[in-house]
Symmetry: C2
Subunit: 228 residues, 2 copies
DNA sequence: TCATTGGTATGACAAATATCATTTATTTTT
DNA sequence: AAAAATAAATGATATTTGTCATACCAATGA
């Protein structure tokens, strides 16, 4: 199995402040796992005993609401780390992590993480920064969900998706989601999401190519997301 | 000014893991401030240079959405600490903190906090726990805002308010909010909030006494918040 | 005391969104 | 390739929620 020291993923996340020795320890203890599209990496309510570092692939983080509907809270991709919140607060996992495509993930045991947090102040601060940033994003999302109508939330979501996943060589947002998943992201009925996407296409703001979405008028979307 | 070592507030929050020397340092550097009802302790977008520890009083944490409406994200009270997210992520303040009644607050300079985080692993972990817990709550709220209809969100909010602020000697939720503030918490129009409160009173689930709300049938509210 | 103000309440109506039904397209299985 | 299953699209309609208008009430100050 490859060494953590050589993994380029670590350059992009909180692991970048680790010393050589700490990386060696992680390397020795880590396990590598492969998750198939549709499978769960973590499940809401379950305990967790380590940190996951995504080497490759995309996933949705979801919550099941009391009425049985799935709410997508967040999307993650290669370079993101998962499980830190649950490890730190010593609470069960809060969100389901479901692979949107086949994933390759590294697992680092909880104790190694906690030891390193105590020893390496900079690593500790980096992890805090990640969580702090996530909290800020979550607060923003609460406000948007509560205040914005569905059309604005859809516009916002499309811009977010392009921001997170980038575009493929045809200019399409580089992730494949079902209409239902888009609806579950913005918190609306699948039919409503479909209708609004159709409207956006008619208004020449987006293009629907195969299973992917291409933003053709980003400014229009930005204005729309702000209610203009 | 009183010493941090004697402050009972510290028993209830992340400050409880501080050593005697650390508390002394905080004591020497801290300043005490009084915020009148309606005034802001922190303002969205502003930089922050320390941690606030609420000794007494209640506040709402809000975000102004692009359409100019206020969204209440969270309520805080004596014993809660504020500003840790912003300090740690080195980002501007994310939420306005507005006093719901006169407040007494202690301010501890940022550098003291950062020094202590590096030196005291347990304090560091406690702060992380606080933020992690907040992130979990925020994620839950996203799901509720996105998936639940207004009536269920109101029921949920009333239960939350009683949980946070407790009840006074008449059994009323011990905080005074305007109808507009309740509406801004659940993300609806003021008139809708008023109407739904009136309905709840007619259904004998709550009682409206002066400016306060008394939950008279908690079970009914719980069921309602779950959509039954 | 009266007048003014801000918060609360309620009705009438409009707009947004969900639900149900049906059709069409796309993918998967046989 | 045909059949079956799943996903997407669209119309019709019901429900929820927001907006506007107006009335009411309670606190406050001249």
């Amino acid at each position: 199995m490859s060494k953590c020291g050589q993994c380029i993923i670590k350059r992009f996340n909180a692991l970048k402040s680790l010393t050589h020795d700490e990386l060696e320890k992680f390397s020795d203890h880590k396990t590598s796992l492969f998750i198939k599209k549709g499978e769960n990496l973590m499940t809401e309510g379950n305990p967790i005993n380590g940190l996951y570092c995504i080497r490759d692939g995309k996933a949705k983080l979801t919550k099941l609401s009391t009425n049985g509907k799935e709410q997508i809270i967040k999307f993650v991709k290669g370079g993101d780390i998962l499980g830190q919140r649950s490890i730190l607060s010593d609470e069960p996992v809060g969100l389901n992590t479901t692979a949107l495509e086949d994933m390759h993930v590294c697992f680092i045991p909880k104790q190694d993480i906690l030891d390193t947090i105590k020893e390496n102040g900079q690593f500790s601060l980096n992890i805090m920064k990640v969580i702090s940033h996530q909290l800020n994003q979550a607060n923003t999302l609460i406000s948007q969900m509560a205040q914005k109508p569905v059309k604005e939330r859809l516009a916002e979501t499309l811009l977010n998706l392009e921001e997170i996943f980038g575009v493929d060589n045809e200019g399409c947002i580089d992730v494949v989601l079902t209409r239902e998943e888009i609806a579950n992201t913005i918190g609306t009925a699948t039919e409503s999401a479909i209708r609004l996407l159709s409207n956006l296409k008619k208004e020449d703001v987006i293009d629907l190519i195969n299973k992917k979405i291409k933003i053709t008028d980003k400014n229009a979307l930005k204005n729309m997301s702000d209610g203009y």
